[in-house]
């Protein structure tokens, strides 16, 4: 119930054993470092290679970003020699990469240009004109290009007497060449501009169109050839990728090690590291460090004092571990607090099951989350929690006697089950809208839709009352835990004033209410006075903030009625799907049975989805808002020892 015990660990050693110390800490993976804040002592600087290695990482990253992700190749541990070789290799690979990339880009552009030119040149060829002469002509002016308003050509240019023109369509693009005498140049411009004209300059056409086309074709072939050469280079780089990814991981870890001294305090020739280690592991760490540095190291362990921000390592067993997921959504506890994971394990699935409470839904959800756990390992903690919750839902399905919203089957079916499977259900007479029907009932502890109980003369649904009672117990348990937490951190006086005062108020109010309805013989004023004393104590402990919170106590307990209400909403929907939507179809027989079954499938599918979201959110909310506010503050620093990163995602977005 408490986080793992930690001790402060200070390491002092000469700088000559820097790398041995860092390597050992890295291998142990136990040391949570507190970064040094500059005071009399300076902050350490990264080891010599860090800068080169970082530059190498950038190069690797930029190469990798041009390719699809690949699985890394496993590489041996880097030695100084292999590191130098790797650096050289990466530099060469990077240069090749940049060279090939630029060349390919240039060629791609060249080829694209040439192809475009080829297209309009072939269009020009169909006109059969001597283009170089036309360009040089002083008497004639021309315009060549594409037009988008093809339908309007005849109407607009055809009617202009001074302009002669030709058009051709190539690959669904229409080209036009319009010629007129030089004095009509402005008129020509104006006319073609009405056609959505896009000019193509012909200045570059110096030879006959046929010859131009021939030289262009050889240019494209040549460009394609050289492109292939670069493609080969590109493929060679691609083959190196797994090694490169492997190298990236190794180098990244190496950089992390080399930059570790940024967290140390240093003098001219020694360094001091401050951090935290689990109290159980002190001997192992000490021995390993002393061995690695040849006893040139001083290690000092001290206990945590009140002002320290001790990192928190939660200590939970196999069963309760997944529930840390729910705690992490909120906040992890501080070092001195209870770790409420075990409490979440005890009550969250219970609340979920209490709300969902349907054997059929529970079974479906159990299988669904089991599949999710298999298929998506990253969600395994959440899946485990929900599987557990689904299991409890099945149990509560038994308590309420509900399977997919059905509470009973017809007498005939009941008899058939009894004869065929030996499952005999008790018969029960229902009166609904004045009509009596006999059905074979599922066994149950109580029916949550119909079972009422008498509260102070009112008929109230049993599930709502049970919910409120659970709330009363849960909240008071929270107050008790809060008392223990305060006792530990602020002493008995404050704990009593801030937490037990709530319970005194509750006792007072309960006594007063009981006297009012005549269940207690003392005057109701005794109760009110006790409650008032509680309020005064609370005011002393928590100030005006506490007093403002008093009405919230009642509303928070009533808030637990949702345990019943959410379930009732879910049953309501299931009953509507079964009895009001599907059964009328099924009763008509024939093809309508299929329609009825489809309605049931869709209806229950939606209801199951709601049945996960509703109970999950409400269940977790009751913990976060109503329960945790009584004892839990959170805000702990997670214990993150310096160790090998499990999964580094170093690739930049492509």
């Amino acid at each position: 119930m408490r986080p793992e015990q930690m001790v402060k660990c200070q390491i002092m050693a000469p700088k000559t054993v820097y790398s041995q110390t860092i390597d050992t800490l890295y291998k142990l993976g136990l040391y949570h470092i507190t970064p040094h804040v500059k005071d009399d002592l300076d902050i350490g600087s990264p080891l010599a290679d860090a800068e080169d290695l970082s530059a190498m990482l950038v190069k690797i990253g930029s190469v990798l970003s041009a390719f699809d992700p690949v699985e890394p190749k496993k590489l041996p541990v880097l030695t100084n020699k292999s590191l130098t070789a790797a650096q050289k290799g990466v530099r060469k690979l990077y240069d090749d990469f940049i060279g090939a990339k630029l060349a390919m880009e240039t060629h791609e552009k060249d080829v694209a240009d040439a192809k475009e030119r080829k297209q309009w040149l072939s269009a020009l060829k169909t006109f059969g004109l001597d283009i170089p002469t036309l360009i040089k002509s002083e008497k004639l002016t021309y315009m060549f290009g594409t037009v988008s308003k093809v339908k309007d050509i005849q109407q607009i240019i055809g009617s202009a007497n001074d302009i002669s023109f030709q058009t051709t369509t190539n690959n669904s693009t229409t080209y036009i060449l319009a010629v007129t005498s030089t004095e009509h140049k402005a008129f020509l411009h104006e006319t073609v501009s009405k056609l959505g004209f896009n000019e193509i300059a012909l200045d570059s056409v110096t030879k006959a169109v046929k010859d131009e086309l021939a030289s262009l074709s050889s240019r494209i072939t040549k460009a394609n050839d050289s492109m292939q050469k670069h493609h080969k280079k590109w493929n060679i780089i691609q083959k190196e990728l797994p090694t490169l990814v492997g190298l990236q991981e190794v180098v990244h870890e190496e950089v992390r090690k080399q930059e570790l001294p940024l967290n140390f305090a240093v003098t001219e020739s020694t360094f001091v590291a401050n951090g935290w280690v689990p109290a159980k592991k002190t001997e192992i760490i000490k021995n390993a460090l002393v061995d690695a540095t040849g006893n040139k190291i001083h290690i000092e362990y001290t206990k945590a004092d009140k002002k320290d921000f001790v990192p928190v390592k939660l200590k939970n067993n196999v069963l309760t571990k997944p529930f840390e997921f729910l705690l992490n959504l909120y906040s992890i506890p501080s070092y001195k607090e209870f770790d409420p994971t075990t409490l979440l394990f005890l009550t969250f699935p219970f609340f979920f099951g209490f709300m969902l409470g349907d054997f059929g839904y529970g079974l479906v959800l159990f299988l669904a989350f089991w599949y999710m756990k298999k298929k998506f390992p990253s969600t395994k903690d959440a899946a485990k929690i929900l599987m557990f919750a689904a299991l409890i839902s099945m149990i509560f399905g038994g308590v309420y006697g509900e399977v997919f919203g059905f509470e009973h089957v017809s007498v005939e079916t009941g008899k058939a089950w009894c004869a065929n499977y030996g499952v005999c259900l008790p018969e029960h007479t229902l009166i609904s809208h004045g009509v009596e029907t006999t059905v074979a009932d599922f066994p149950r502890l109580f029916n949550r839709v119909h079972s009422h109980m008498n509260v102070f003369g009112f008929e109230v649904l049993t599930v709502l009352v049970v919910g409120a009672i659970i709330g009363f117990i849960h909240i008071n348990f929270g107050l008790f835990l809060g008392f223990l937490n305060e006792l530990r951190s602020h002493g008995f006086k404050h704990a009593f004033e801030a937490k037990l005062s709530w319970i005194i108020i509750e006792i007072g109010v309960i006594m007063a209410v009981l006297s009012m309805i005549g269940m207690l013989v003392v005057s109701q004023w005794v109760g009110w006075i006790i409650a008032l004393i509680g309020v005064v104590i609370l005011g002393k402990g928590e100030g005006i903030q506490g007093i403002v919170e008093i009405p919230a106590l009642a509303s928070q307990m009533l808030s637990y009625m949702r345990l019943g209400a959410v379930g009732l909403a879910s049953v309501g929907l299931a009953v509507v799907v079964n009895e009001n939507l599907a059964l009328p179809f099924i009763d008509r027989g024939g093809i309508f049975v299929a329609v009825g079954l489809l309605i049931m499938f869709i209806g229950h599918f939606i209801n199951i989805l709601l049945g996960v979201i509703g109970p999950f959110l409400h269940g977790i909310r009751l913990h976060y808002v109503e329960f945790f506010s009584k004892f839990f503050t959170g805000g702990g620093v997670p214990y993150e020892p310096f160790e090998k990163k499990q999964k580094t995602n170093l690739r930049g977005a492509k």
Binding site: Y330, H452, F458, L461, S559, M561, A565, I620, R621
Partner: protein, 73 residues
């Protein structure tokens, strides 16, 4: 029968109005929570809790509706 009709209307109003109120309250909280989450994904848990706090209104509405229907017998 007229009495039963009034009871049904009362229950409907209790649930409907409280749901409307909860939706109204949650709309601005939800928008702020999503905004905060866009800045820091770790706030998902806190955002979720803050968003569902007004949900209590609907629950109370539902409980009252059920109690009112209970009165009808």
């Amino acid at each position: 029968m007229a009495e039963a009709g009034l009871i049904a209307i009362g229950a409907g109003l209790a649930l409907g109005l409280s749901a409307l109120a909860a939706g109204w309250a949650e709309s601005s909280i939800g928008a702020a929570a999503v905004g905060a989450m866009a800045e820091n994904e770790k706030l998902f848990g806190k955002g979720l809790i803050l968003t569902v706090i007004p949900e209590t209104l609907v629950i109370f509405g539902l409980v009252i509706a059920i109690l009112i229907i209970g009165l009808a017998g």
